[in-house]
Amino acid sequence: MSIGLIFLLLFVLLFLGVPIGISIGIPICLLVWQTQITTFEFIAQFMYTKPSEFTLLALPFFIVAGDIMDTGGLSKRLVGVANNLIGNVTGGLGIVAILGCMFFGAVSGSSPATVAAIGTIMIPQMVRAGYDKYYATGLIAVAGGLGIIVPPSFPLVLYGVTNDVSISDLFLAGFGPALVVGIVLVSINFIYSKRYGYKEEGKTVHFKELLKSIWDAKWALLMPVIILGGIYSGACSPTEAAVISCVYGLFIGVFVYKELDVRNIVPMFKNKVDFIGGVIFTFAPAGAMGAIFAYLGYTTVVKNFFLGISTNPYVIVLLMYALLFVVGMFVQTMPAIVILSPILLGVAEAVGIDPVHFGLIVTLALAVAFVTPPVALNLFVASSMTGLSMERITRAAMPFIAGLLAAEIIVGFNPILTTGIIDFFGK
């Protein structure tokens, strides 16, 4: 069986909706059976090794932390601060939405969760203030990508575990790209708001109200400080930080804001167990696939293919973005990272691109993938939340998607925005 047939089978199974782990598992078993290159026991071993990696344990807790934030009333208060800070300028509520996504992203690691959390609060408010409903929904769908760019971030955890890159470094390197994306989105929002006159009338900033909202949100504002401060002060590892963010969120939600019913705590964890199993199971076959591709020299084939086109790092970055853009139209975060990132990282390293920088390149490409149809999770969430059609939301989101692409290029070409931050703190 040739490499082509194996990939064909992989894609057919994926396309037919077979779980990704199984879609990978079946072709690699056939490959091993046919080539005798290694043993089935070798594949089986990964079923134990991969799901017992300690760093991967961060994932389940960051997933629940997002839920806790929401039900505990923390996200609401974060948006309140942004609102009082900037709500009255041209396109103010749009900026509030973007800032809200950044704040929420500093606690949540998920992009669709960010869309849901901030969208629920901000879309009605924006529409009430005169924003076009498609514009408001499209903006939030794109800004939700900040959920995975601002640390903590699921894709960065997955990338770090898959490629054995430091997760703390990846998180630290995420701040630069987040800032770039934030600035780009705010600028586009400003241009459009100016043209269509989006401005909340008669609202002025009352300094007292601002202080009050900050005071009201102080415990929510502390949450990112605790998570990121915990990691960077050395008090805890990323995995432990994820746990602490849950404990802290629970404490504030139950005892301080008193919006979280104690009886809802266990169900919140219970609801995520099958989801976690469904996600992490994929790692075992994917890990085995990486090793078997190495056995067969496929990794080298891919590497040589790219290096045959160019060895210029800028060209390679553009090629990667182009590839990830096309893949990202059809595939979600997880498979792109576990299947593609180890193979592509080999190419990137060969032209001197740092693994941490490359992690952010991949993550930005995934932020785009969340809003490029036909498979676009952020658009699904936005659409099911508002009942608006995906097509219309996508059309309204176009300028912002273009902005994300611009941000990709800016970040991709300037490692100072990613690894530069690490170097700055290191010296």
Binding site: F40, Q45, N163, D169, G234, A294, V351, I353, D354
Partner: protein, 370 residues
């Protein structure tokens, strides 16, 4: 620019046996050894299936660029060349670097048992889950220097290790990969006595004896995966660590740990093993080839290690960090304080073997005039 960013941490490395990366210059004592910089400068030979040629696959944590350069790279290059020469090209060794096939004891042992690959390498500290064979190599402050370690490995105790691991794990050791004695680094002071360690959070390998030893010295032990160690040191999640000089340089620990103590507190050896199943398929003559090649490779890695250790120690001093060497008297204080931990080793190894080891160490010290 983009391309100038030096790549780090890509070396997926659980057992830490091969953290060092390429040196782009020929190793000599006068020239700087550049580790962790240029990638893929040396190509590992790639073999394709040919009529009448058998391929034996080696899974290792070695970084591709280290092939023929670092002590581990020298060991593997010697193995590859020797087996090819002795077999007249009828057996070739194919190296799969960077743990791309397997890492950790579970994965390596089960893969060797099933025949997923034929040869692998696992550091002495990682065998504990399956056998006590290599316990003698994991006892801190037992050996005065690397020569004593060599005497033990090459002597009767070494033969016993080989015998025991063959029985316990069905693998056949043919060589010991030398990675140098372990040294300590820390962020705040020169270390002369155990008291200097007392308030430091020190990262040690997750091995019960080693944890107990550093706790006995007054340090507080932290468990950090090797891939996270640089960041953990940078952010003071831990303030001290211990590794051979090759790792300290290649992982740039010296950038965040201004004090290095030449403590030589324990050896770092990785055991080169053949699958027992594969071993049985070899003829007696072929077995001899592997044994001889293994011996030569071990020696070659020792020579390379000794040469590079001296160079690298001078080099880190040039980078501006403070290097202190424990005097024999100072080291004795450490030895006295970890004594209680030796009881633990005695318990693990059994009294008879433990006494035998102590006797052998004494004998080696006398012979070496220590």
């Amino acid at each position: 620019g983009l391309g100038s960013a030096p790549s780090e941490t890509q070396n997926s490395d659980n057992n830490e046996s091969n953290a060092s990366s390429s040196s782009s210059t020929e190793v000599s004592q006068t020239e700087e050894v550049r580790v962790g910089l240029d990638k893929n400068v040396y190509e590992i030979p790639q073999y394709t299936q040919q009529e009448g040629v058998r391929i034996a696959r080696i899974s290792t944590s070695l970084s591709a660029a280290d092939y023929g350069v670092t002590p581990s790279g020298v060991l593997f290059k010697t193995m590859v060349d020797e087996i090819e020469a002795r077999s007249g090209g009828k057996i070739v060794l194919q190296i799969y670097p960077a743990n791309q096939l397997a890492s950790g004891a579970d994965q390596i042992i089960s893969s060797l048992a099933s025949g997923a690959f034929e040869i692998s390498e696992l550091s002495a500290g990682s065998w504990g889950d399956y056998t006590t064979a290599f316990a003698p190599l994991n006892i801190p402050f037992l050996y005065k220097n690397i020569d004593v370690v060599h005497a033990i490995i090459d002597g009767e105790i070494g033969d016993e290790m080989v015998q025991q691991v063959r029985e316990d794990c069905n693998v056949v050791p043919i060589g010991f990969m030398e990675l140098g004695m372990r040294q300590m680094t820390n962020s705040s002071r020169e270390i002369h006595a155990p008291a200097d360690l007392s308030d430091l959070k020190i990262r040690v390998q997750s091995d019960p004896i080693q944890i107990a030893a550093f706790e006995a010295l007054g340090g507080s032990c932290v468990s950090v995966p090797f891939s996270e160690l640089f960041t953990a040191l940078q952010q003071k999640l831990c303030e001290a660590q211990e590794n051979p000089i090759h790792n300290i340089v290649s992982k740039k620990f010296y950038e965040v740990q201004p004090y290095l103590t030449v403590s030589e507190h324990s050896p770092t050896e990785s055991i080169l093993v053949l699958s027992g199943v594969y071993w049985e398929t070899l003829s007696d003559e072929e077995k001899t080839w592997f044994e001889e090649a293994g011996k030569m490779a071990t020696d070659a890695s020792r020579v390379a290690c000794q040469l590079q250790t001296e160079t690298l120690l001078n080099q880190v001093e040039d980078y501006g960090i403070t290097v202190t060497t424990l005097t024999p008297e100072e080291k004795q204080v450490f030895v006295d304080q970890v004594m209680p931990v030796w009881d633990m080793a005695e318990e693990i190894m059994g009294q008879e073997k433990w006494n035998e080891l102590l006797k052998a160490v004494d004998k080696a010290e006398t012979q070496l005039g220590l």
